[in-house]
């Protein structure tokens, strides 16, 4: 398991390749990455992500450990950035390795669902029309009930 919380950008391809390398018993690698999304109706200048140093790493480890307990996984990677980011920049990624794809897909979805509302990150959107904290969605909380 590798958990990384950092301000600087990461290289999705390099991270995915490094994650997949060196194992011959994993038949499935799933990666997901979240990207800062612009909205033509409300143009975004940048997104700023705040987090809770210390708790963030603990929370991510707890979520990844739970994923490893629930699915047959070879490895889990979570990278999540904080600080200012431009539209199009990658915010975060998860990767899961498993002998079979179902475990890899489901574990990646589980990681994303929990990371959305149980890891202490907060997004602020700074647009040309002003700035606002992104509100948590009810559907993100509801997503946890399926697990």
């Amino acid at each position: 398991m590798r958990i990384v919380v950092q301000q600087i950008p990461f290289d999705l391809g390099a991270e995915a390749n490094a994650f997949a390398a060196g194992r011959t018993d994993m038949g499935a690698i799933v990666t997901f990455s979240g990207v800062v999304r612009d909205d033509p109706a409300h143009p975004l200048r940048q997104m700023v992500i705040e987090h809770y140093p210390g708790m963030t790493e603990k929370a991510l480890e707890k979520i990844a450990t739970e994923a490893q307990a629930r699915w047959s996984l070879g490895d889990v990677l979570v990278i999540h950035r904080f600080g200012p980011m431009q539209p199009g920049e990658m915010i975060m990624m998860v990767a899961t390795a498993a002998p079979h794809r179902r475990d890899a897909f489901e574990a990646a979805e589980y990681l994303m669902d929990y990371l959305k509302s149980r890891a202490p990150f907060w997004k602020k959107e700074q647009g040309v029309e002003g700035e606002n904290w992104v509100a948590a969605k009810d559907e993100d909380e509801d997503a946890l009930t399926r697990w």
Binding site: G34, E50, Y52, G54, M55, K58, A59, H80, I91, M92, M112, L115, K116, S117, R118, A119, P120, F121, W122, K123, K124, W133, V134, A135, A136, E141
Partner: protein, 82 residues
Amino acid sequence: MIDVLYFAWVRERIGLAREQVDTNAATVADLVAELRAREERYDLAFSDLSALRVAVDQDLTDFDAPLSGAREVAFFPPMTGG
């Protein structure tokens, strides 16, 4: 003494990222009541607890959680990771 931390709009509304609070509050809710009584900016920040989350020593918990032995309490809005 307890370290009290504020994040996102809670931090902005109170105007502080962290402070040390001298308190004998038994629960998080008691601490919130003490903070609200201080000044209007605290009162406003804590006016709707359903819009807030709390962590004690970096674990998410509820407002009725006990504070005995706690070193760090953090208040923040619902998280928006991912």
